[in-house]
């Protein structure tokens, strides 16, 4: 019997239950592919202003849940609010993505956790508003970027294919790079704890660039910091469930699942279903439809949804994409996905 406090299907699965149909939400479900989001965005001014406007951000969070009757809302925000709060200069330029003043070894001391706590108050207010508007059957997911991924953007100053700046830094001066990671571990615990205190039911850690780390560095920067965050967060809030999403982990995924202490693992679309099932023997899994297949739609999408459901139906599984929704995705494809995920049990 599930605990009576586990009122949402998402939390039941995170606690280890296998549900058929599985709960469903999609990464970047609050976003540009939705006309109602674009209308809201047009009112908001800059992207960070949007993230820091509780009324607008709460509405963006709720839009997809309302339209598609999803099992979970995920806070509308961005992983770069943490460096922005710490005092790194973050800017979002239309069509260009984030631009940051690059952080180097000498800048780490200037970053301030205290500044972050005050600066991100509107984010926590957004969480509280959303939780108040959602029925108990819908979970609210808080989130943060994993320290490695946030450090990538801070060191490089923008997105990149190679992220040579953070990688060259960690090899040339591992001590100062570790100081940045240590600060981000603390900041992430603070930021997630504040979201939980404001009403988030569980949290996800996005490690978008985990896959560009060789094995030794994956252990040091994509596993160890997550283990510290999971332990730190559970010391403060013992019942918190954490979903880890180490994108591109490949052959390191099993070790990530075994050593980080997360409660569930998000599978990117490159993880073969058999490898995902091996992880599921240990922990609940989430994923992993290719976002381009959602964009393409049609029978290929419906067939793959059935295949994913079949692969994971014997254990705890949350249906999701294997990466975020692409902006040109037709919303009707999302509706068709939800229908297919909630359709008759797969044979």
């Amino acid at each position: 019997m599930p605990s009576p406090t586990l009122q949402s299907n998402l939390l039941r699965v995170l606690a280890g239950e296998a549900l058929d149909p599985p709960p469903v939400w999609l990464m970047r479900q609050a976003g540009r592919y939705l006309p109602e989001y674009r209308a809201l965005r047009a009112k908001a001014g800059g992207f960070l202003q949007f993230c820091y406007a509780p009324e607008l951000a709460a509405e963006a969070t709720l839009q997809p849940v309302r339209r598609f009757d999803l099992d979970a809302a995920i806070l509308f925000s961005d992983i770069l609010v943490v460096p922005d709060g710490l005092g790194a200069r973050v800017d979002f330029r239309e069509g260009e993505g984030p631009v940051l003043e690059p952080t180097g070894a000498k800048d780490v001391d200037r970053l301030s956790l205290r500044r972050m706590r005050a600066h991100l108050a509107p984010v926590y207010e957004t969480v509280a508003r959303v939780r108040a508007s959602l029925p108990p059957s819908k979970a609210l997911i808080g989130f943060a970027g994993a320290p490695w991924t946030v450090a990538c953007y801070m060191a490089e100053g923008k997105t990149s294919r190679d992220f040579a700046a953070p990688k060259a830094w960690l090899w040339r001066d591992p001590a100062s790079f570790q100081a940045l990671i240590d600060l981000l571990v603390e900041a992430t615990i603070e930021h997630l704890a504040a979201q939980i205190e404001a009403g988030a039911d569980c949290v996800q850690l996005f490690d978008t660039w985990a896959g560009i780390l060789p094995d030794a560095e994956f252990r040091r920067y994509a596993i160890a910091p997550i283990a510290r965050i999971a332990a730190g967060l559970k010391r403060r809030h013992s019942g918190t469930r954490i979903i880890g999403f180490p994108r591109g982990a490949g052959a390191m995924l099993e070790e990530y699942a075994r050593k980080t202490g997360v409660d569930a693992v998000g599978l990117d679309y490159g993880i073969p279903l058999e490898a995902g099932r091996a992880v599921q023997a240990r922990l609940p899994v989430q994923g992993n439809l290719d976002p381009v297949l959602l964009l393409a739609g049609g029978t290929a999408m419906i067939d793959r949804i059935a295949e994913i459901r079949r692969a994971f139906s014997a254990g705890p599984h949350i249906f999701n994409l294997g990466h975020g929704i692409l902006p040109p995705t037709p919303p009707e494809h999302f509706a068709a996905l939800v229908d297919a995920v909630r359709g008759a049990a797969v044979p």
Copy 2:
């Protein structure tokens, strides 16, 4: 005893011998990081003109072998000479990378293998010139892009993070996409056979974007076409050795090694050393230093080189990077790498 015809260390390892120190060459060793390359490039006009000028391309091929006394030369060319030869419009713009007129379902019939054979004659002349200039102890590696990666550029028209165009195509209209892949399989066999006939000692297939395919599509587009190319090429030239490099294969690597029929597998830098050793139990491996670590240099690089040598010293191993050299890499770091690879046997 190695066959007396196997005069180069590279070919001996491809035939299954374990050598200590291992032979060494680096992906993109002929390139912009070298001042002598930049001087040559300035004389050449456009990038494709450079690829089609046998004297200049042969010189670019030989430059790094001369400077660093490497065990192998790799033909200076580009994977997009195949679509260019087939009649897709390919252009290289300074600082922007390749731009192609996007190929769609209706364009496949217009591509011509016969046109390609004639168009790429200067490439085969380059191979012959290089082979004539190299001592028998140095191997000459020919290469081609794998059909999936070449199809990515053809369908998308440029590089991309998601390659939504080829992926949406393969899901919406698998028959016409398969027709493109089939044509590229034939073109690749032709192109590699012509390089071997001109004097290449072995060949490498670069599947740069293999890692963006989910499991079923990885089997269909990153394994099956390579298996057909390997079989087709060996029917024509039975002794040919093929190195397959499926970048980002992650958990699909073992299946790639087992099912493609390649003679050796290139490991990207994200493949953990233990996973690489598992592949090495079956086939020679090549790799896999992170190119950013070559860029960073210093003791971190030297230590990792020793670790890679140790991991693979019991079996056949070719030392290489796990992806191409980055343009800002100091050539002295390359020289230090070669010294470290050829240094005393690792304990």
